[in-house]
Symmetry: C2
Subunit: 467 residues, 2 copies
């Protein structure tokens, strides 16, 4: 089964086809370089051409042509993912979804949109229409697409209230095109959503998305400071447990993160300052200030709804949290990398303090409040001063030993970035929807090597050789 790139290009020449090598290279990459391991493994990866469909009919045509010519197809939105999920390990066609960005319908509590719509634009449309916004968004909200968020993300800003994208009710419907001789269009709701959400485009191409909406408010951005880290983390968790106070994000940063990596915050804190960043609904501010007043250990550093003496404002608070924290740290110290950890209910504080005692400041805690099965928990996007892969593996092992769940961001496969088990629903759907295995090859281990044991990093055997 050899890919006939030239034939595919010829057949697709009437579409928006990009053959400029510089542009192709740019569109072959995501934010994989957050990870030194992925940087080594994927830096040379490049597609053969980029095609940008304007509608579902063109998606169908592209898949039909690529199927006929055995050309791999790797789908991407804005490429803001961190796991190489949008990178064409076997080359071939980069299916760029940016032109399919229509917001089709807005109703009370839900929106129907095309996958290439940028999160920020989607929110602007729903806000203008009826004062609504997405329940959840990535910290790359200003550039990321809704399709990329669903195919490659798991939650983010808003997860402190609504849980993860995979939780029931957080995606309503997905419309998907299969990669077959004659591509089919399928509509998924309920249990079937798990087949294609967070599947990196390995088993179908999402062409329409129906998402729940929440009311949009002019969220008040806040920074609160603490002398100790446990006080900061407990404050964030306790605030999130206030059922009557509406928050959108609660991020916790161990000292000296705020001082060393948040340049606009630096003049207002010391290296010993532990920081909590929050977005609170305006009509919850009285409740929040009452909660704050009960906590003498907490000092209000900044609120966006009042005048302040900051020479340069901090910008949107959500751009401090989730993976923007890592990005800010990387800009100051390129040796920083990160881990994704889940500190579950109820003993999250014990686990976090165990890790802190053993590893701080080699690793610095960055926590995000989440909801899981009705409980407040913490997602950790732990910052690690990278030395060697062996040391990183040792740190990961220690987390797993104490029961802190690791979702490894130094791997490019679905299984390794998740719970390191095969998702049968996704595999079975790939068998049905992508019989030739042409969609985003190398990202689903269970397709290529069902017996993989997860003892070490999976390396896709058919990955392009470095030039």
């Amino acid at each position: 089964m050899t890919a006939d790139i030239a034939a595919a290009k010829a057949a697709l020449a009437y579409l928006d086809l990009d053959e400029n090598p510089i542009s192709i290279r740019a569109k072959s990459r995501d934010f994989f370089w957050y990870s030194p391991a992925l940087k080594d493994a994927l830096d040379h990866v490049v597609g053969d051409f980029v095609v940008t469909p304007r509608n579902e009919a063109e998606v169908i045509e592209i898949l039909r042509v690529c199927y006929a010519h055995n050309v791999p197809v790797t789908t991407r939105g804005a490429g803001t993912g961190n796991y190489g999920q949008a990178m064409p390990l076997s080359g071939g066609c980069i299916l760029h979804m940016k032109a399919m960005d229509n917001v089709k319908e807005i109703h009370p509590g839900r929106v129907i949109a095309e996958p290439g719509c940028i999160l920020k634009d989607l929110d602007a449309a729903t806000k203008a229409h009826s004062g609504q916004e997405l329940r959840m968004m990535s910290s790359t909200y200003a550039t990321a697409t809704i399709g990329g968020f669903i195919a490659g993300g798991s939650g983010g800003i808003g997860s402190c209230k609504w849980g993860a994208l995979r939780d029931l009710g957080n995606i309503i419907r997905l419309r998907v095109v299969t990669m077959e001789e004659e591509p089919r269009i399928l509509e998924f709701t309920g249990e079937e959503l798990a087949r294609v959400s967070h599947a990196y485009g390995t088993n179908g191409i999402i062409t329409e998305i129906e998402m729940p909406l929440a009311p949009a408010y002019d969220w008040t951005d806040l920074f609160v400071t603490f002398d100790t880290f446990p006080a900061a983390a407990q404050f964030a968790a306790d605030l999130a447990e206030q059922d009557g106070i509406l928050i959108k994000v609660a991020s916790v940063f161990e000292a000296p993160v705020a001082h060393d990596y948040f340049l606009r915050v630096k003049p207002h804190v010391t290296p010993e300052t532990h920081l909590v960043a929050l977005a609170v609904a305006p009509h919850s501010m009285d409740g929040f200030l009452t909660f704050l007043g009960r906590r003498p250990e907490a000092s209000l550093l900044y609120r966006s709804d009042q005048e302040n003496d900051w020479k340069r404002g901090p910008g949107p608070i959500f751009e401090y949290g989730w993976n923007h924290t890592t990005l800010r740290a990387l800009k100051v110290d390129p040796s920083i990398t990160y881990l994704q950890v889940r500190y579950g209910f109820p003993d999250y504080m014990e686990k976090i303090e165990t890790i802190r005692k053993e590893f701080s400041p080699e690793i610095l805690q960055h926590l995000e409040v989440m909801r899981e099965s009705g409980k407040v928990i913490f997602a950790g996007l732990t910052m690690v001063k990278f030395t060697t892969q062996e040391r990183l593996d040792e740190i990961i092992r220690r987390h797993e030993e104490i029961g802190a769940l690791i979702f490894n961001p130094h791997r490019y496969t679905l299984e390794e970035g998740g719970r390191q088990t095969v998702d049968d629903r996704q595999l079975r759907f790939k068998q049905e929807a992508d019989p030739k295995g042409l969609l985003n090859p190398g990202k689903m281990i269970s397709w290529d090597d069902p017996d993989w044991t997860f003892d070490g990093m999976y390396s896709y055997p058919k990955i392009q050789s470095p030039a």
Copy 2:
């Protein structure tokens, strides 16, 4: 200090003053008769006159006049409370708030209204204005006022998501008139709200209310049936823990409540049917149906968003829950009364089953899902087949023994209906705002008898004698 009723009436004659004995008696009563104990204690209680202010200036004038003439003032809204809180134990003035029913301002996330506004009318206004509704309401929504809900209630429909009225953020601001020689107007937010919310009008008259709003949806009403009670209760709790599925109420009824007391449901169930009543947001229905599909023990009996074969529809689902359950039971069996129980996190199922094993069917479980400090818990509005006060006391004792908190609905004082402790904030504010003790006399034990030990039912010494 003798009340000069005649002088007060003369001074207030230019206002909307009601002196018709039949009307005065009707407006001197609430739904106290749910409790046989309160029925015995309060049935004879009656005010001397009713006055209905049209605005805050008139409230001030009424209080000034009543203060001057030592006339007790008992404030009421629609009189849908169940604890005699709106009943004038010492006679005097009934301050009827129904004419102060303006909705003054509506903003994203909040509304400002007068206390006499009926909950249903308030919701209609906020819905028409911007698709918003109150976070919480009583099951007497169609007739109860917002002021009465705040002064006499503690939560209700919506508490499965937002917690209780007393929780931070669930009331934004209250404007209050004091009972002094020259009444003052005070504005309360934050910690100070606790002074007058749920105070039965004993220490100030609420004249303006600012409440948070949530988005209004065309909630889907649902009944789900189960063969066992624990399965029904677990289903409701687990559903409430689905962070991505938006619900407004989840009520659980032990068999044979649905069959015996819910007349329109009766044809569709058996005496062995345990029932869960739910309101789910339309855009969460796919998520809900997915959740339901994972629970073979659950059978969907009714959904309001589809055609069905019910000859008579069940009416709004929320009118099955909270104290409407008791009302429905009372209409069929007048010997029924009830208890208010709090089954806390995490061992609520064990406690509930302990009580069930010992007392069912003498008492039947009726549970309401609530949120408390970020956890799903159950409020019990337990139905009791009343025999004697001694037996009721025994049942209450047994609940307390196993750690199920009782809020006694067979008492007419603030303290006994709550946690049986003095609320210093309310007492101190009464000392300041009602120095003569004229506001709703007999309802705050700590004012009349600071040494009360809560061993038996408090009986206000100055209560009117039965005629």
